[in-house]
């Protein structure tokens, strides 16, 4: 990578996760859109190949409602069911199994939530559920915190990636602990996907500049005033951040270092 005549190309560097290859390093959620049609447009603009969905009871009172999946081309987008709303390992394990049973994927975005206000993960329960689901044949992508020790434990438990939060889900606060993300990147060998807290393009770019392998977001796009424009923005930000990371940035210096030569100044 780098060198005379050899410049890094995004297209030569796909994301490899659990044995599958992805051109896009942006994963997006399908929640919080005002209409399914808007969601469909935003998903397309994002360039994402992986989209998350939640598992919920069928509303039996609505005989012919609109269905989410009618707006998602499952040949183009890989469906990643989540276990959102689960506060125990047992619940998450159950929902993961139901999600798999609905027939689209044995991948699961594993969430075991510890607290309603912050939606931070219950890492104890998360680890337990990860072990069980790995044994049950799932490809487990756990939503975790920014603790490198936890990341290592999840990897050892067989997680296919680790997904540390940037900031609380839906908070838009960006990457709150870049130092820890860097340490997590040094600690694990599985892909690191920043999941949660991305609010605008620069947040996604920062995550990728740190060296993260991908970014997952929902509210950052769906909650924007113009979700389709924001989806495109995030697509560009993730690509831009990855390019910057691979291009090798200049170091930060306290003092200036002139860009133009000292010699030949005309006086």
């Amino acid at each position: 990578m780098g060198g005379v005549g050899v410049s890094y190309k995004l297209t030569d560097d796909p994301l490899v996760l659990a044995g599958r290859t992805f051109k896009s390093r942006l994963f997006v959620g399908t929640g919080k859109y005002s209409t399914f049609a808007l969601m469909k447009e935003a998903l397309e603009a994002s360039g994402a190949e992986v989209v998350t969905v939640a598992v919920r009871r069928v509303d039996l009172s609505k005989r012919s409602g609109e269905s989410l999946l009618a707006y998602i081309d499952t040949k183009r987008f890989m469906i990643l069911p989540n276990t959102a709303g689960c506060y125990s390992a047992e619940d998450a394990i159950r929902i993961a199994h139901l999600g798999r049973e609905a027939g689209l994927s044995n991948w699961v975005k594993l969430e075991v939530i510890g607290d309603e206000k912050t939606l931070f993960p219950d890492t104890d329960a998360l680890l337990t559920a990860t072990k069980v689901l790995v044994k049950d044949g799932f490809v487990v992508l756990p939503y975790t915190n920014d603790d490198p020790i936890m990341a290592r434990k999840l990897q050892d438990a067989g997680a296919a990636a680790v997904m540390p939060l940037g900031a609380p889900i839906g908070s838009g606060m960006g990457i709150q602990n870049p130092a820890n993300l860097r340490i997590i990147l040094e600690t694990v060998t599985v892909p690191v996907v920043v999941d949660a807290g991305v609010g605008t393009a620069s947040d996604a770019a920062v995550a990728m500049e740190l060296g993260c392998d991908a970014v997952l977001m929902n509210t950052g796009i769906a909650g924007a005033a113009d979700p389709v424009a924001m989806a495109e923005s995030m697509k560009l930000a993730v690509e831009s951040g990855r390019l910057a990371f691979k291009a090798g940035r200049i170091p930060k210096k306290l003092y200036a270092s002139a860009s133009s030569p000292f010699q030949g100044i005309s006086r």
């Binding site: 959620g29 859109y33 998350t52 939640a54 009871r57 069928v58 039996l60 989410l68 959102a84």
Partner: protein
């Protein structure tokens, strides 16, 4: 017969198996998963799995989420 379906107690005309129940409820068959009394019932077993009085049935689907 009386069943608890998706958390609601309902009285419905008798059905003998899960496939019949789903047909009565008009859920369609695609992209859903079903539990009876906390056991997932595989799709291939829907027709042969009986539905009994006071069974707790959960029928789930994919919805938007992050």
């Amino acid at each position: 017969m009386t069943l608890e379906i998706n958390g609601e107690v309902r009285v419905i005309p008798p059905v003998s198996n899960l496939l019949e129940l789903l047909a009565y409820l008009e859920t369609g068959q695609d992209r859903i998963a079903v539990e009876i009394n906390q056991q997932i019932i595989r799709r291939k077993d829907w027709e042969t799995t009986p539905v009994q009085e006071l069974d707790r049935v959960e029928i789930v689907q994919f919805v938007g989420g992050g």
